[in-house]
Amino acid sequence: MSLQVTDLRVYYRTLAGDVKALDGATFSIADKEIMGLAGESGCGKSTLGNSLIRLDGRMRYIGGSVNLDGADMPIWDKDAMVDFRFREVSVVPQYAMSAMNPTRKIGKMIGELVESRGIKYAEIKPELERRIDLVGLGRDVLGQYPMELSGGMKQRMVMVISTLLDPSLLVADEITSALDVSTQRAVAETLVSFRDHGFVKSMMVITHDVSILYQIADSILIMYAGKLAEKASTATIINEPRHPYTQMLISTLPEVGVRYKEKKLTGIPGSPPSLLKPPTGCRFRARCPLAFAKCVEEPPFVTVDTDHQVACWKATGTDA
């Protein structure tokens, strides 16, 4: 078991009160597993990803534990996390365009970065160059400034830097959303190759685009309004989802081949609840076509099949 997250809660402090962006998440990622994390904007998926890296000033750790390769990560302590960040857990941020220092040549910036971790640049350079070749960039990028690279190239460069110390877990947050379709594919396939080469042990890929996850992920975790809705293998989530939210989310996706004239898709009526004062019980209740009396109680996130967990009273067969 590579990553084990237990009942993790992270709220945002605002003047109006706490925004319960991540309200009790329990899941695990196995070795060699690429887990996709999907959901609508504001469902807490980025909060979950970020909380494993660094809690910024507005984020408040409420409770829960994170265990990576048998060691508990002190995610509430920004300074103690320094030992884990980059070595054990690393991130590819959403805006790779602005993730690199614009005033340093890329090679120099990497040198400063690894030396802050007590590693000599000269020692790591051969491996760095090998990985640059692997992602299809020229070795001369090390002598260039970030502005000389295109968006897709910067994204791949940041991926190389993030995984340079072979972290156990890599969090990739919406890394394909700002890219063109052909670049998107190259970047997504690079992620898979990093796992296959053993640069990272396991991966959490955060995106709102489920079809990208179908291409690269082994398992998918669906979140809704700060809670986990469903987790299963990719094929199960796409073909036999149990949670009504997952079912509706999958059916709203237009695919090449689906035409308005022939098959009219429908959206999910309503909008997600405010997380400032989330409703009690099942948070999807107000938009759910299957909602019944029992849904005023909060459904637990339980295992219904091998490697398949769902938080829904209907899906678990608990008819009242």
Partner: protein, 319 residues
Amino acid sequence: MLSLDRVSKSYRVGTFGGKELLAVKNVSFDIQPGEVVSLIGESGSGKTTVGKMVLKLLDITRGRITFDGADVSMVKGSAVKDYYRQVQGVFQDPFSSYNPIFKADRVFSMIKSEYFPSVPNSEWSDKVEASLRSVTLDPAGVLNKYPHQLSGGQLQRLLVARALLLDIKYLVADEIISMLDASTRIDVLNMLADLKGRGLGILFITHDLSLGNYISERTVILRKGVVVEMGATDKVFGTPTHPYTRALVASVPQLHKKWEDIEAELAPVDTGTCPFHEAYPLAGRSAVPAPDEPTLVKVEDDHYVGCFELDSEKVKLVA
């Protein structure tokens, strides 16, 4: 009919505008009333430039855009207002389209004071409500609210409702759903398709092939300012013929087909380096057309492709 005839646009770049960048080159297509034409291209392909030229937000360098026979660039003075009464645009980012200081429904009162000052208020509010209903919004839920109180999908539909208050015949929809969530995205798409049923012509600009395929009758694929393939949507997506279109279709992430399988289906046509797009030294920079620029060739009814390789046997098999 809105018709583009060999439209080109060049920008002046570099110090003192010394260089010329050809953003759009000889683009020609028509939009009929009640038809959705999707203009698909990657970033920098010039798709937004085409939309802006149709909306008269940019001057046309060469070529002509005609609206029911009249040259759009000749529309000047008070006639401009009349043009905007019939052709309107909605853009990508709904959050920055509104002034956050004012209530969102101010966009409606601005239309009233600008175009319909003589309409009585009671009649106007009926008109606004009818227009909101036609974009599947509940008037009570969106009127009298500030932009931050509404979702992206609602804001985007308000902008379409605003355009509908005028007697528009054509709508330029530039990436209007790329910022929206999957669950609301399809509602906005369906709304566009309903409007099409009522005779509105839509230029649907997007980088997302599956959205273009879902909604449009006709598709234009733009690459570096040049149309590489165009025609009926089912033909362009059914038998993609230009190597670039094939590469695009093969990289779209799909839900029930893995990339490897699509690739096997669309066996890549090995064309080597394209003599026009890659190797021609002045390609994309020169105002002078390449000496042997590929022209659009008709491969079947309502399906045109611009590629030298069309002469070769490999591509003929596909077409």
